[in-house]
């Protein structure tokens, strides 16, 4: 008792969004492809959930694995997400 029954959502007229990764014909999500991964990572470095990213279950699983690998190889930050490459070599030499 007391539990509210959840109404099934009205799915009529709602068009399913195609999965962006499958749709663009990419089979493998490579962890070195940081430009691709950054599309699915927030500013804080979190992986965007499937309900928002709209990816298929398969693609999302590949994506999370890739993001985690990228974090471990210092290609993506754990806390800041994508860190852009700066072209100026001078800056780097100081560090």
């Amino acid at each position: 008792m007391g539990k509210k029954k959840r109404r099934s959502p009205n799915t009529e007229g709602i068009q399913k969004r195609p999965c962006a990764i499958l749709h663009s014909g990419i089979e493998e999500v490579n962890y070195k492809d940081v430009e691709l991964l950054k599309l699915f990572v927030t500013e804080k470095g979190k992986i965007i959930p499937r309900r928002i990213s709209g990816l298929s279950s398969k693609s999302q699983k590949k994506l999370t694995a890739a993001v985690k690998r990228a974090r471990n190889s210092a290609l993506l930050s754990f806390s800041e997400g994508y860190v852009p490459q700066d072209e100026s070599m001078e800056k780097g030499k100081r560090s």
């Binding site: 195609p18 962006a20 990764i21 749709h23 663009s24 014909g25 990419i26 493998e28 490579n30 962890y31 070195k32 492809d33 940081v34 430009e35 691709l36 950054k38 599309l39 709209g54 690998r69 990228a70 974090r71 471990n72 190889s73 210092a74 290609l75 993506l76 930050s77 754990f78 806390s79 800041e80 994508y82 860190v83 852009p84 490459q85 700066d86 070599m89 780097g92 030499k93 560090s95």
Partner: protein, 125 residues
């Protein structure tokens, strides 16, 4: 000895000269070949900004090996990488096809934006 396909990333400190960096990369290559593995492809990624600071360092030289090895060799490599002060980061993962992995990586280096533009178009559509 059964050999499996591995992809190994080494991140070398940028404060080293080019020769010193090449030397420490060669050291790891030798570790693989001496233990019975073989490095099929090699690919330098060059100098990159690290996503986070490692040992207070912001930049690193990335170098990739596509090699046949086994768990023992990889374990040894990992241990050596921890001891070596010139290596900032060591990362390895198994791949199914070495040649495909190598070609994919070369294509990615050539055009890093390719896949992301495809996907962002699909996201926008």
């Amino acid at each position: 000895m059964t050999l499996r396909n591995y992809e190994v990333i080494l991140v070398v400190d940028t404060k080293l000269t080019d020769e010193e960096a090449a030397e420490s990369i060669d050291k790891f290559k030798k570790l693989i070949t001496d233990a019975g593995g073989n490095v099929k492809f090699e690919s330098p990624w060059g100098r990159r900004r690290l996503a986070y600071e490692i040992k207070k360092v912001k930049y690193g030289i990335y170098h990739l090996f596509f090699a046949e090895a086994n768990g023992e060799i990889i374990e040894n490599l990992e241990r050596q990488a921890v001891y070596d002060d010139n290596i900032l980061k060591f990362f390895d993962c198994s791949v199914t096809d070495l040649e495909k992995a190598y070609n994919d990586f070369e294509a990615l280096k050539e055009n890093p934006q390719k896949n992301s533009t495809l996907v962002s178009e699909a996201l926008g559509a």
